[in-house]
Symmetry: C2
Subunit: 362 residues, 2 copies
């Protein structure tokens, strides 16, 4: 008898092509609902090209519209916000959040654009800035820009019978990468400037991503890290100090609850692989200016980017609450439970039972 | 850590009420698609009351329309077509198909109606007749009646983007019960005469139904059984002999492949229970004349019935092919694989590993 997790992944791939469907016009609400029903992604080429955002958003227009509004910016050494970092001291893996600063939008944008046009691959201090707050920022921090996009995606609003829960603006340069993770939202992701490459794994491929329950940390400026206590006191409200920060160092937060994090990266398939990772068939899709991606809830995604002519990458995405009723959530949790149960079963010597994993499977 | 199968069932029930949604008008294609997406059943009261079938089908009209057309009728001792039977000889469980006869429709209907009006609970020979061929019979055997129902259910045709794969007529009396089973079709079940009670279990409750891989048998008339070899030669084409049959006896078919069959009955919850059966929350819904049920693919269902004024029970159902893409099929198979893997794991002494189960889990 084949192992159930192996069977799940191979059966899924037998029944589903490892490609993202390409549409050339927006789906109707009903056509969209068919994708939601099967939890399958699609891309609509040039779906949003006519949005004011797509027509107008260059550095000058953004600077003029946003002016000196303070925005929250993630700062990391290499573009790795919310990512797994191996601590130099002891080789343990940590889930590390970015250092956060507040700065006037115009200054932030300037440093992004300047970085993109400079030939060196890092800024003066070597830091990467990314506006990626994911907290409905386009209707809050960036509200002056909100009129340039529709308040909802009509086919999604009609199909799902609800309005967007969050609308997020993402703005950065080539160097930022969002590490593999999943969200419990139906996601309509619209590329405005530059390009993004999405690497996708279906929820049933959970056993491939090597989810581990990790301690948490945060990047803090060098001096702060040196002086730091082990609690997470530094919350970025001392913006003047942090706008120009020195070296960023990982500060462990010993009080924070450990979090389950995917540690396998399909782009480095040999590292952190599980016994299942070789069965994964990552879907890859590149979004260009004006393209829209439907990323179904609970799909794993890793996102990297390339600036466009304007010297920055910018996208807007709409998150709609997923439906926890029906079997989708329960089935996804079940896969995870079976995976952890297998990890803990001593008679499988090829898989080690880590303390971290045991904790994550309550 | 809770056992994954237990967690799956309890999580599902936490997120889904154990009731069948009641609609008072037909859903739109989009509303229907939302139910398909979550694999949740609903009933539409009086949805089909205006169908010609609902207005016209009494015994006289049916007799006149169908006349002497020969129809295929399932004959069983107690209304148990396609059911699990415990063999008297050795207590083994078998999956037993009905004896089949061909008889002129008018004769078949007469015996159903006569049985319903008689005070005894069995016919002369004690047999129960049920027209239940499930092979698109309304567009074939019963085609004279087909004009009395729509050729498709519009909201389903539009939502699913396909025509009905099979349209079936079901005609019998109080005594027939269809045992718990599942089908890989989206089912729209329309009650024309009498009532049906459906007992439903979601696919994730697979561990509750005590699926076992059983040998197969068929009811054959007593003399035939006595004379029978152990192969399944008797196919019901000797109709004159079988129209009036004596005792029906189970004849084992040793050559037929064994089949996985649900053996737990929510109406007799103590019998054939698994360690999970007590976690099941069967949904119950009674269809009355004119009601329509959406029974999602892969749901377990047991169906019993009560004749209406006309002395028979009659229903028409539409089967639409389910979508094997996406995760529905793969997830459902995964639950089954995990269940069988657990059955085979020696360290769980409370569950015995039966040879039958081992065979079914390849
Ligand atoms: O654009 C990115 O960097 C990440 C996007 C993302 O993770 C999301 O939309 O959920
Ligand atoms: O009406 C019945 O007896 C059974 C119906 C059924 O099993 C079905 O429609 O799939």
């Amino acid at each position: 008898m084949t192992d159930p997790l192996t069977n799940l992944i191979t059966t899924y791939h037998e029944l589903n092509a490892a490609v993202v469907d390409e549409l050339h016009e927006e789906p109707s609400a009903l056509e969209f609902m068919r994708y939601v029903a099967t939890h399958r992604p699609f891309v609509v080429r040039r779906a949003v090209s006519e949005w004011k955002a797509c027509r107008k958003w260059d550095a000058g227009y953004l600077r003029q519209t946003m002016g000196d509004e303070e925005v929250r910016v993630a700062v990391t050494p290499s573009g790795n916000a919310d990512a797994v970092v191996e601590r130099k001291e002891d080789d343990t893996l940590l889930f590390v959040e970015p250092h956060e600063i507040f700065e006037p939008f115009a200054e932030f944008l300037d440093s992004v654009v300047q970085q993109s046009s400079s030939s060196s691959s890092t800024t003066a201090a070597g830091h990467v800035k990314y506006a990626q707050t994911q907290n409905d920022n386009l209707r809050n921090e960036y509200s002056p820009l909100f009129p340039d996009v529709p308040a909802n995606i009509p086919f999604a609003r009609i199909a799902l019978g609800q309005k967007a829960e969050a609308i997020n603006l993402w703005l950065g340069d080539d160097r930022s990468t969002t590490a593999m993770h999943k969200d419990n939202y139906e996601n309509l992701y619209c590329q405005i400037r530059g390009e993004k490459e999405f690497v996708l794994l279906s929820p049933g491929e959970m056993a491939c991503v090597n989810e581990r329950v990790l301690g948490r940390g945060r990047y803090v400026p060098g001096s702060a890290a040196a002086a730091a206590t082990s609690s997470s006191g530094d919350d970025g409200d001392d913006d003047d100090d942090t706008r120009m920060v020195g070296d960023l160092e990982v500060q462990l937060d010993v009080h924070a609850e450990r979090v389950p994090v995917a540690t396998w990266d399909p782009d480095e398939p040999e590292k952190h692989a599980t016994a299942y990772s070789h069965l994964a068939k990552p879907l890859r899709v590149t979004l260009r200016e004006g393209d829209m991606l439907y990323l179904p809830s609970m799909w794993y995604h890793k996102v990297s980017q390339r600036v466009g002519e304007e010297g920055f990458v910018c996208a807007v995405n709409y998150w709609y609450d997923m439906d926890f009723a029906g079997s989708h959530w329960a089935s996804t949790s079940f896969v995870r439970d079976v995976y952890y149960a297998e990890q803990m079963r001593p008679q499988y010597p090829r898989l080690e039972v880590g303390e971290e994993r045991a904790e994550g499977s309550e």
